[in-house]
Every structure is written in C-alpha cells, then in structure tokens.
Amino acid sequence: MSQHPDTWRKPPFIANPLLRWAVYLGALAYFGWVAATMPIDWARVAQGIERAGRIFGGAFPPSFERSGLLIDGFLESLKIAILATVGGVALSIPIAFMAARNVAPLPVFYFGRAIIIIARSFHPVIVAIIFVKAVGFGPFAGVLTLVVYSIGFVAKMLAERIEEIDFGQVEAMRAAGAPYLSTLVYAIFPQIMPRQIGLTIYQLDSNLRASAVVGIVGAGGIGATLANAFGRYDYDFALAITIVIVGVILVSEAISGQIRKRIA
C-alpha cells in the first residue's frame, strides 16, 4: 500500500564514506603508534611504585608537631588570596568594561580583550615562576600571580555579563544627557552588581586554592611550606599539610557556595 520506506538510519557523522574510514583508521593507527613508541621503562615504574610505598609509609601517621609552621603558612596563603582578590577584582572591573563590545569603542575593545587573553593564556604556575624570578621568593610573587589569574577569570566573566545587559536603561540615561561615567554608574552597575559579588566570592575561594599551588614554585604561603616539607623528606608533615589544605578548601567552597546561592 504505502510507498514509504520502513527503515531509517541516522546519517553518518562524516558523509563521505572514503573520508570517514580514512579518519577512523588514521586515528586508530596513530594511537597504536603512540603506544608502541612511548618510552616507558617498566623497570623504573617498578622502582617508582617501591618509592611511592616508602613515601606513603613515611607519611603515616601524619605529624602535626610543627602546627605553628602550618598555621603561619596558611595565614600567609589567606593573606595572599585576599590581597590578590581585592587587587584582581579592582583591576578586572575597568578591564571588563574595556572588553565589553556594547560599551567600548572597537580599539579599546581589542585592547581589553587582549589583556584578558594574555592573562588567561598562562597557567598560574608559569606566571608564578616568572614573578618569582622577577621579584624574588615570597608572598609578593604569589599576590602578583593571583592578581593576573583573577583578571583572566573575573574580567572575562564580567565582560560577558556587561554584554548581556538591558541596553534600554543605558539608552534612557543617554536620552537624559547623562555624562559617560554617570551612565555607567546608574544604568550598568546595578545590572551587573549581583554577578560581580558572586564572582568576587568565587575568586577568593579559587585564589585560596591556587595560592597553595603557586607556593610550591616559591611564591609563598602554605605551598612553600609543603614544598619545604617534601624537600626535607618530612613526609608525615607533608601529609598533615595536605590534609589541612583539603579540609580548608572544602570549608571555603561550602561557605562560598552558600553565599553565592543566597545572593543569586
């Protein structure tokens, strides 16, 4: 009766069958080649497992004997995180305005975007290595690193929020003859404020986490304490530090999550 077909198959991901099989086989061959040629020395893997066993063996039980050092390290990390968040967010706001297409002229927009892209393109550890070289070991290098890290994230997210604003409010201020800054303060700030607060809290949390990492390359804080403990084979102290880091991060994440939920 019906002339219509009763079978149907999903069109393939790549329409050309020759190309399709070439891509599949090519990918498979590459993985095989990579696995075959990676220099994995199984003897060293065995040694490594043994060494890992020694480290973990030495780490138990964790030692809280030098908790004074631990607390000092943490307070320093907290100071680094707070300073970096304040500085980073303060710089992020003007950069975000520069990088928002709907409020910035084209050249300024490119400049703002360029700052954000540069700030985002390096991992904090690499930035930290550069700053440690530039200003020496210690917390100041950590603060500078996390300021850059904060700009990369906060300015980008804030610029995107500015691009989403209801432009009618800006239009109303313009129609009233308001100067540029007054327009920003009345028509844009109120719209982006909730996001701004949320991002700041998130970034404080994130900077606290990152400050532990950048400390390992010499930028101060608890990370430096941890690196020293490892360097002196104090594995039990290192484990104690690690446990505290995980605990503090869990607590800070819970707190920041709660605050962000409240203001959303």
């Binding site: 009618g168 109303a172 003859g177 009345y186 028509a187």
Partner: protein
C-alpha cells in the same frame, strides 16, 4: 518649536527608513504619530534626540540645530528633550527616587550622582511630580516592585525631571493594559497642558490617538502621508496609512501624497 526639514535616515546601503521628511511641532500641542510597524515612527523620534544618527537633513529645537552637535553640547541639548519609552527602561535594581533623579544626571556632577547627593530643589521637584502622578509613596521602593502603569509613571516623571522643552514618547502605552494605557495617555495630555510642553507620541492605538491628541501625523514607509486634526482622520486616510501594497509605496510614487 521643533522644526524637522528634509530628514533622511538610511541604515547601510538599503532603502532609507526616513525619506526627506518635514515636520513642524509648534507651541504646546500634543501630536501623535501613527503608522504600521516599520513605517519609521520610532526612528523619527530617536533621530530627534540623536539616539539614532540622522543621515542628512536638519532638526531645529527652539533655535538649536541638533544634527551637528557633539559631546558636551549634545548632552546639553538632550537634557532639554525628555523621552518616555515603550519598555519603560527603568533601572530595576534602583529605587524609584534614584530612577526619577536619573533624569537630572545631565545637570549634576558624576560625583554627586554616585554619592546620591541630589540638590534640595531636585528632591523637592521629584516629590512634587511623583505626587502629581500618584507614585510619591513609592520613593524608596525598588523599581521592579511596581506594576506596569506605575513604572511608566516613573518613566514620565524621570523625563519631566529633565525640565524638558519637548517630550518624546515612543509607544508609551504599548506594554500596558487598555485601562492603564488610557490613564497614561490622559496623564501625558494633562501634563502637556500644565507644563506648557509640546509632546510627540508614537502610538499604535488610533482610538487613543484621536481621543488624547490635538494633531495626528500618519507615516508610511518613511514619509508623512497624513497630517491633520484627529477629526480629519477618516476611513480613506486610515486606508492610506495602514493598508495597500507595500511595493507601490516603496516604488516612491507617493511623494506627492505627503
């Protein structure tokens, strides 16, 4: 007096949205502009306060040529042109008082604006106008807590705070229910009389245009094809403004009709 001469606005290389348009608004008359969507009503209004940049032509408000102004002078000219928007364009997260005072942003310093240190006479004037339109009790309420009619009243007061020489209203009642819509139209008409202020209203509702305004301007595809008293707007004129073949109009043969 507002005098528009030979105004052209085109976007890109397409057909112009406004085609050699002439319009004069005198005294304190309430003028409505009607026409189907896309006729150029909104563009015309926005050319006056330069939210839209005219391509060519002249717009003179009380002796000031508006089309050539830049920067500070443009802002000074905009202060004298109040505008009421279809979507109200209030700052939702600010209080009604802050919204109303934002009409004074062109007069006060940025610092005073940020610190919310408004001049005494501005605050008194704000309460006066809010009282007049019936929203004085909302001074400390956030703008997004108000109903549509109340929000548009805030919009009207904000525009009047500018101490304007002319009021532009871009479909001020299109987002409102019929009853509220009539209240706002009545308010605009009454305020125009009280403040001796010419008002230019874009409107879709022809019945309201006839009832609340002194003069009706009919637009079609960037031209004015009707300009007379509301009583002169008969079936035939309505037909010319709202129906017919768009292609015939775009052909440009209706020039003599304007």
């Amino acid at each position: 007096m507002l005098k528009i001469t030979d105004l052209v606005k085109s976007y890109g290389s397409g057909a112009p949205v406004l085609k050699n348009l002439d319009l004069t608004i005198e005294g304190e008359s309430v003028v409505s502009i009607i026409g189907s969507s896309g006729a150029g009503k909104s563009t015309l209004l926005r050319c006056i306060n330069r939210l839209v940049e005219p391509t060519s032509g002249s717009i003179v408000l009380n002796g000031t040529e508006l089309t050539a102004l830049r920067g500070r002078q443009l802002r000074a000219a905009r202060r004298k042109i109040g505008m009421v928007f279809q979507g109200f364009n209030l700052v939702d997260r600010l209080t009604v008082m802050e919204n109303v005072q934002s009409g004074r942003l062109g007069y006060i310093s940025t610092w005073a604006a940020i610190m919310r240190r408004y001049p005494k006479e501005d605050i008194r004037r704000a309460y006066e106008l809010m009282e007049r339109v019936g929203i004085a009790q909302y001074a400390n309420t956030r703008a997004d807590q108000l109903s549509g009619g109340e929000r548009q009243r805030v919009g009207v007061v904000r525009a009047l705070m500018q101490d304007p020489e002319i009021l532009l209203a871009d479909e001020p009642t299109a987002s409102l229910d019929p009853k509220t819509s009539e209240q706002i139209m009545g308010l605009l008409r009454d305020l125009a009389g009280e403040l001796k202020l010419p008002v230019l209203i874009n409107i879709h509702n022809v019945t309201e245009a006839k009832e609340y305004t002194d003069r009706i301007v009919g637009m079609r595809f960037g031209r004015i094809i009707f300009d007379d008293l509301p009583s002169a707007l008969d079936e035939e004129a309505m037909e010319r403004i709202y129906s017919g073949s768009p292609h015939a109009d775009r052909g440009g043969d209706l020039r003599e009709a304007s």
